[in-house]
């Protein structure tokens, strides 16, 4: 079948799926959110996508990027956040690090708090029908703070860095379709060579000064989204030659530069004065990150006494307090962040499926959500796909069934009950609370869970080894992303030692389907298998919270805590 080329009103090519999904949307088969999310990923501008959606829905939505009226310029935004090492953006493994760098270096794309990905340093992009070739048009007229022009060389240099195993960037996993396996030269214990991944020859092409093209060896829809993943900030092409340290040599395209920086203490970004910023000038003169330690209460107390204007993340315990503070605003963002009680399939007694099912059957998801998270989220269904994921398929709701759990337990040979040790990390109080609530629920079926609460540092040394642990997973825009990361045989993050060929086959099928509706249908099987195998008992998807003082305007909480302060200004 000959390929039909679609163009938009401006004559620009659009991906063939765009008209299709537009049609589905018009017919009500696809949610507004799914529609916006997908078409923007496929290169349709957010403005056009919103306009189309507005037309269909007959509403006038405000463009979320530009809604500031009466914004005042100037001021210092003081944000309570851990201040960490920020020397190399490619190896960032913690969001606060990227936030420190966000004002200095920028990304190719930008995903808003509405889960919509928009152009940033890339002006536009398009993918071929198979989603294996992606062309990015770079914005022109962007200048580095050292006066150089931003061009394709910068982008290619960054890809080279990310996909060079010696750099150690986690981007290598996100852009795995651009890599090839190679022999690292080291030997495994069994004598087989240790294989690594590195950039495939010809995976990236410099089309012209402002165009690059990526060649993938398998279809990936999330490339534009991945380009906003926190380690994907674009650094100058001479980054490595000039020391490879952003903190010491803060060259970037962003509107700010680094004025003060002390790990564990503070990080101050000030408006750059060495040349005009390519985009609209941000309102804030300075962004000042203040490290108040791991203690949430200190941050709240600081907010209460006006020492900070913004808190990076609020834990659930403090939201009552913040709601009561006269000068504070609580911001909530629903996410696909979760924690799973995961059972390691290769360790007794969890090698017994009935036992795992019994454990899962005792869980009252709603109650844990209410108790441990004040109901601020949605219940999860033991399959690690969230309702906000576009491919989410709604299975029949899970109900707690203590009798069934007892029966399963008896089948598993533990008619008199069983005693289990659960490792829990105490970094987040809600996890400890959830563990305690679950413990009481399981006790009703004769499952005695002993909680082994430990500091995060300790937990993260055993998280992928302990037979029974409560592990947090962060937000990812697509459900299959986590499933691929954590539930395939032998992948490094497969903390539950899960191995089910049937599941993997179903997941392969689902991952290869572009059609949202089709993919969703195929997810039914994926989700059901996971639920049935009961390797995780997953109570909830949580909202995340940040807080600002009342003088902070134009702020929206981001589900992954990425700071987008371009639209933020301060009153008074």
């Amino acid at each position: 079948m000959a390929k039909k080329t679609y163009t938009d009103s401006a004559g620009k090519r659009v991906h063939p799926y765009v008209p299709e999904i537009s049609d589905l949307y018009r017919r009500g088969k696809v949610s507004r959110r799914d529609f916006l999310h997908t078409v923007t990923l496929l290169g349709v501008s957010a403005g056009a996508a919103y306009a189309f959606a507005d037309k269909v829905d007959g509403v006038k939505s405000l463009n979320p990027i530009r809604q500031a009226q009466a914004a005042e310029k100037g001021g210092v935004l003081r944000s309570a956040m851990r201040v960490q090492d920020m020397s190399d953006p490619a190896v960032f493994d913690w969001t606060p690090r990227s936030n420190q760098a966000r004002g200095i270096v920028e990304y190719m794309t930008r995903t808003g708090s509405d889960n919509i990905t928009r152009p940033y340093l890339a002006e536009s992009w398009e993918a071929n029908d198979e989603l294996t070739e992606w062309t990015f048009k770079l914005r022109q007229g962007v200048k580095w703070s050292n006066g150089d022009d931003f061009n394709a060389d910068d982008v290619i240099h960054n890809f080279n860095r990310w996909l060079d195993p010696s750099v150690g960037s986690s981007n290598i996993g996100l852009f795995a379709a651009m890599t090839t396996d190679y022999d690292t030269g080291q030997k495994n214990d069994d004598g087989s060579p240790v294989m690594g991944k590195r950039m495939r020859e010809g995976a990236i092409e410099r089309v012209d000064d402002h165009t690059v093209k990526l060649y993938l060896n398998s279809p990936v829809l999330s490339i534009p989204e991945n380009l906003y993943n926190y380690p994907a900030a674009i650094v100058h092409r001479n980054f490595d030659d000039e020391g490879g340290n952003l903190a010491q040599n803060p060259v970037g395209t962003g509107p700010y530069t680094l004025a003060e920086y002390e790990i564990g203490n503070k990080c101050r970004l000030v408006r750059r004065s060495d040349g005009p910023y390519w985009g609209p000038e941000p309102y804030l003169d300075e962004i000042f990150y203040i490290d108040l330690g791991d203690d949430d209460n200190a941050a709240v107390a600081a907010l209460a006494s006006g020492q900070v204007d913004h808190i990076y993340e609020l834990f659930i315990d403090t939201i009552d307090v913040v709601e009561r503070l006269p000068n504070a605003v609580l911001h909530e963002a629903p996410t696909a962040q979760t924690a799973v009680f995961r059972m390691r399939m290769d360790s007794a007694p969890f090698d017994n499926k009935q036992l795992r099912q019994a454990v899962a059957a005792t869980m009252d998801h709603q109650k844990i959500l209410d108790l441990a998270y004040r109901g601020r989220g949605v219940v999860a269904e033991n399959h690690h796909v969230a309702p906000i994921h576009p491919e989410y398929y709604k299975l029949p709701p899970l109900t707690r069934d203590v009798e069934k759990a007892k029966a399963l337990l008896a089948e598993a040979g533990h008619a008199d009950g069983v005693s289990l040790n659960l490792d829990v990390n105490n970094n987040n109080s809600w996890e400890v609370a959830a563990a305690q609530a679950f413990r009481e629920q399981a006790a009703a079926a004769g499952i005695d869970i002993k909680l082994n609460i430990m500091p995060g540092a300790q937990y993260w040394t055993v998280w992928d080894k302990t037979p029974f642990g409560l592990t947090t997973w962060t937000h990812r825009p697509l459900g299959v992303m986590v499933l691929n990361l954590a539930y395939r045989t032998g992948v490094p993050w497969n903390e539950s030692a899960y191995s089910n060929p049937e599941f993997e086959a179903a997941l392969d099928v689902a991952s290869g389907i572009l059609d949202v509706e089709e993919r969703r249908k195929s997810m039914e099987k994926v989700e059901s298998i996971l639920q049935e195998d009961a390797i995780i008992a997953q109570p909830l998807w949580r909202s995340v919270f940040t807080a600002t003082s009342k003088r902070v305007q134009g702020y929206k909480a981001h589900p992954t805590f990425y700071h987008q302060f371009q639209t933020v200004w301060l009153d008074g």
Partner: protein
């Protein structure tokens, strides 16, 4: 005197050697764990092995110990895992902050405790003594982590008088010192005051005080010239040893108020497995503690003429 000083210094060094061995054994005997702590939980076993070999951790434990001690002696504590900078870069500023906090606390505790202790001990069993003693027991019974939230509720949320944290990133703020200092003073004051009281009360029953009174000296002179110096000998040692307790209390208080001090650093390091920082903090705190003991010995000798000639 010099002999005494030299002997105490040698003893102090011996203790330091013991402490360093203890710490080293506690924290660095399990080098695989050390590698995980340093390189992170996601690091590959090969990388850990490489790191261990490259950094000499496969050498014998004795060699490693001396290498480590050698580093510590010249102020090289290694590289912080969380801060990614040499430990000393983080440690010294933090220590300076704690010194400020501790200095303020001592500056308040010493005069207050001595004053009230002497006042109470002057007339043992009198109402004044009872009120002071019971108040001291009361404040000593409320640990820092109980008084800190209570005082925060009162002064930060209700009265809105003081800032709730003392991070001082925006520069020094005296207001931010008030709560941490208050919390530590409350807890520490009672102990020193009661020691002073006990010492004073004991001195007041001695025969030489009777001699002084029956010599016809005015009461004021008896107290100031005869009782006080002798009564202060015991509290002096207590005050210097108090530094040790202060360093303990500082961990909780700094944690509570996000004060960027040495105690918060140690706690954070230990929660995050930043072993070299833990080692450095522990060593430094012991140096401070043992050093204060030396000072206390010297002070004791200065106050107590009987010690001098021995």
């Amino acid at each position: 005197m010099l002999v005494f000083l030299a002997r105490r210094t040698v003893q102090m060094l011996l203790v330091m050697i013991g402490v360093s061995i203890l710490l080293f054994l506690l924290l660095e005997i399990d080098i695989d764990n050390l590698a995980i702590k340093v390189l992170g939980p996601y690091s590959l076993p090969e990388a850990r092995e490489l790191w261990l070999t490259e950094n000499g951790y496969r050498d014998s434990i004795v060699v490693r110990y001396f290498r480590w001690v050698g580093g510590v002696m010249v102020g090289d504590f290694g590289q912080s895992v969380i801060y990614r900078v040499p430990v000393s870069d983080v440690l010294w500023p933090r220590l300076a902050n704690t010194a400020l906090l501790g200095g303020l606390v001592l500056a308040l505790v010493i005069p207050l405790a001595l004053f009230f202790g002497v006042l109470a001990g002057m007339r043992e069993g009198a109402l004044r003594d009872r009120v002071i003693s019971v108040s001291c027991i009361l404040t000593t019974s409320v640990p820092e982590y109980a008084s800190a939230p209570l005082l925060t509720v009162i002064f930060v949320f209700w009265l809105d008088l003081l800032p709730g944290t003392s991070n001082m990133v925006g520069g020094f703020q005296w207001q931010a010192m008030v709560l941490p200092v208050m919390v530590l003073v409350l807890y520490d004051f009672g102990y020193v005051a009661r020691m002073t009281r006990a010492s004073m009360a004991e001195v007041m029953t001695t025969h030489y005080i009777r001699t002084a009174v029956l010599k016809g000296l005015p009461y004021r002179v008896v107290i100031l010239k005869h009782a006080l110096r002798n009564a202060l000998i015991a509290p002096f040692t207590v005050i210097m040893l108090q530094l040790n307790w202060l360093l303990s209390g500082v961990i909780i208080t700094e944690f509570f108020f996000s004060y960027k001090g040495f105690g918060a650093l140690l706690l954070e390091a230990s929660l995050n497995g930043d072993i070299f920082v833990i080692e450095a903090c522990a060593i430094i705190s012991v140096v401070v503690a043992v050093g204060s003991q030396l000072l206390s010995d010297l002070g004791y000798a200065a106050l107590n003429p009987r010690i001098r000639i021995h």
